[in-house]
């Protein structure tokens, strides 16, 4: 009886996932998978959590897409770093972008170690963060803007209106600014070194990117009178 019940449940899950039309017409753009294919769960902890909660039984017989070639369960895999690599990438040269980011992490480590060994006392040494990944995370977190300006036309005049940002958009802006700041350099300086400097500066709440963010906030403050022109 129980087996029949579970089978019935599974059928229902499948049914809810498949719209009638999609069996005949592919509504999924250029994707080779029909719409009812679900995304793979490739992270170990997410998988373990699913197994613990017992939800994996529901997903067992649903057709699943193959994992992309950058989705691994490796401990070195990091979503934010991967996203940053994608933003650094130009013309689809991903190995190059990955190398650049890895090199800049190495430079961060070198620069921080240099500072660490120059320190005289233990207290100063304890203050210096040596993990490049935590530096990367704090740098991106520090560079996130809260507001930005959008032009809104009212009565024939374009006003620069301060508008709140979603978390995703602000994260994107902070990464974009970090990369732009790293590209703004002398031709003798390598990109990864400049990026490392910018990351360390941003993690310490100083530097060009932080200044850029504060300038944006300053402009928003100056245009706060137009805030009620916003759409929502």
């Amino acid at each position: 009886m129980a087996t029949i019940k579970t089978l019935f449940n599974k059928c229902q899950i499948l049914k809810s996932k498949t719209p009638l039309l999609s069996t005949f017409i592919q509504q999924n753009g250029m994707s080779q998978y029909p719409t009812y294919y679900i995304n793979p769960i490739y992270k170990k902890d997410a998988l373990e959590a699913l197994i613990k909660s017992g939800e994996d039984q529901n997903l067992k017989h649903i057709p699943t897409r193959a994992a992309l070639n950058n989705q691994t369960c490796s401990t070195a895999h990091d979503d934010l770093v991967n996203l940053f690599v994608n933003y650094v990438m130009k013309d689809g040269l991903k190995p190059l972008a990955r190398d650049l980011v890895a090199q800049s992490f190495e430079s961060v480590k070198r620069l921080q170690l240099e500072k660490y060994h120059k320190c005289q006392s233990e207290e100063e040494k304890a203050k210096i963060e040596l993990n490049p990944k935590t530096i990367f995370y704090t740098a991106i977190n520090n560079c996130k803007p809260i507001l930005h300006l959008t032009p809104i036309k009212r009565g024939g005049v374009r006003y620069q209106v301060p508008v709140p940002l979603t978390d995703k958009k602000s994260e994107f802006l902070s990464m974009k600014w970090l990369i732009a700041a790293a590209k703004e350099k002398d031709s003798t300086v390598r990109f990864h070194l400049q990026l490392a400097r910018e990351l360390i500066d941003a993690a310490n709440n100083t530097g060009r990117v932080i200044k850029r963010k504060q300038d944006l906030h300053r402009q928003c403050e100056a245009n706060r009178a137009y805030a009620h022109y916003r759409w929502s």
């Binding site: 979603t166 928003c220 706060r224 009620h228 759409w231 929502s232």
Partner: protein
């Protein structure tokens, strides 16, 4: 010639309308069984109070965020909450779900209500 032509005209150019004006029914004299939903588009700007408080704090503390973390938190909480409630409301309105005793109805809800209780004649 012009003057005489005007003078000889027996009637005035535009006739004065007769006193009981005859009624013309241009559109049918009944309400439509639905509403258009154009009136729903009013936009209220959210979180203005929190925003101004935050910006004032920024100005006071030279745009450093550590000193204004409380204001920033309240602003962002307000904005994310607003987005969430907007989404819930939109989903609800798209379905046209009616909750008994609701005062402010969306156009979809009004339409479902009107369809449920049509005005027979």
């Amino acid at each position: 010639m012009r003057y005489t032509a005007a003078l000889f005209k027996s009637k005035v150019a535009r006739p004065i309308p007769q006193e009981p004006v005859p009624f013309q029914e241009i559109l049918p004299l009944k309400l439509k069984p639905a509403v258009s939903g154009k009136g729903d588009r009013t936009s209220e700007v959210c979180c203005l109070q929190e925003m101004s408080v935050m910006l004032a704090c920024f100005k006071k503390n030279e745009f450093s965020q550590q000193l204004c973390s409380k204001e920033i938190d309240s602003f962002q909480k307000c904005y994310t909450g607003h987005l969430a409630t907007k989404k819930v409301k939109k989903d609800k309105e798209a379905k046209g779900v009616l909750t008994p005793g609701e005062k402010q109805l969306s156009s979809k809800q009004v339409n479902t209500l009107l369809k449920k209780f049509p005005n027979f004649k």
